[in-house]
Symmetry: C2
Subunit: 213 residues, 2 copies
Amino acid sequence: MSRATLTRDTIVDTTIRIIAEQGTEGFTMRSLGQALGTDPTAVYRHFRDKAELLRAVSERLLGTVTVDLPADAGWRPVTVEVCRRLRSALLNQPQLATALQFGPPLQPTEFAITETLLRQFRLAGLEQGAAALAYHSVIELTVGSAAIDAALHSLSSRERSQQYFRWRSVYATLDPAEYPETVGASAHMYRGTADERFVHALEALLDGIVPSP
Amino acid sequence: MSRATLTRDTIVDTTIRIIAEQGTEGFTMRSLGQALGTDPTAVYRHFRDKAELLRAVSERLLGTVTVDLPADAGWRPVTVEVCRRLRSALLNQPQLATALQFGPPLQPTEFAITETLLRQFRLAGLEQGAAALAYHSVIELTVGSAAIDAALHSLSSRERSQQYFRWRSVYATLDPAEYPETVGASAHMYRGTADERFVHALEALLDGIVPSP
DNA sequence: CGCTGTCGTCAACACTGTTGACAACGATGT
DNA sequence: ACATCGTTGTCAACAGTGTTGACGACAGCG
């Protein structure tokens, strides 16, 4: 019986589970302790503070972004796949922005993402400076898409559809004299899944970055 | 002898000032009360809770986005200008994501932004469905750019430049064998101002959305 | 066996947003 | 002019947050 019931891995596991089940607000040090079956402050034996724990969580989530990528798919499908995975990882942890506050000097997995994306853009024929700008561009789009959809991510797909429908209704019932375009396009707003909208935007961005012949 | 010392406008003013000076973490109900010279709980006579106050703040900030737009500049400069203003407004209030949690049924100013952007895309020749997708795309990019730069926004331009330099150094000193592209492009990362990078990304996105002949 | 260092436990601190009772004050009706 | 009323600032307090320091149980080791 390993008396050490608590380890960094199990703590990170439980943290991810809590956030996935109850959302980012339902995760507190005390709820974590309860889920672990220990005193809440026992976690501080393994992590300096909550920020370090969340950094470890983001490290775990971001670790899946660049693994097992299709080798011979070409730069563009690989780029889309990496960004989709990154967006998915960010969705599971909106608080990553907090951990990201310290900037790039982060975890090894972040460097792997940067390296992978930069390589794809170089494969696409971009110079180093253009590749760096392209990297910043796709990261901004990916983070934004995740931030916008983070609130609805904890909902079921049914509830999400209902929410989209509700928003379309709001747009549709605006004053047509004041908001003609919004009313006219209301049926097309928030159509499909958030992932589909993101991929559409990403494809457009990539079209603009690397114009196809 | 101002008896009605507190009003919604002055509270919103002070809130914006505190967030601008001390960042989003330095703003609490108690610090707000101290800045107002009243008891912290007096604010609750004018706003139901902190969320409603922040909604009023976002309403104030977003109100400047669509006013006095150049009339005959063409859809593209107008779109860029609106997105730049929106990004600037979001930068001043990272917590807007919290207020935005409730989704589109928000304030009138948000509808004005949506209407303006949709009209520009219609002017560019897009159908209603394509305009809606384009709207979602530019919003995602704008929100993401603001989210990424929010952490550094409270810094002075000098400190910001130093931070950028520090990050470039981190990239430059990685293992070239493992991260060749990152090391190679390190000198081009985080170049220029964040606004310039955003406009570059936005221009690329617009190129992809509405291909120029 | 005894020692040492790790690690879970407990109480407590400073802080947050928020609420209900209380009181001062201007405005209002007769 | 007086009493009344509703608005609004004040105060104490509550539940909840992250975090710290003292305490003690336990494993491994000489």
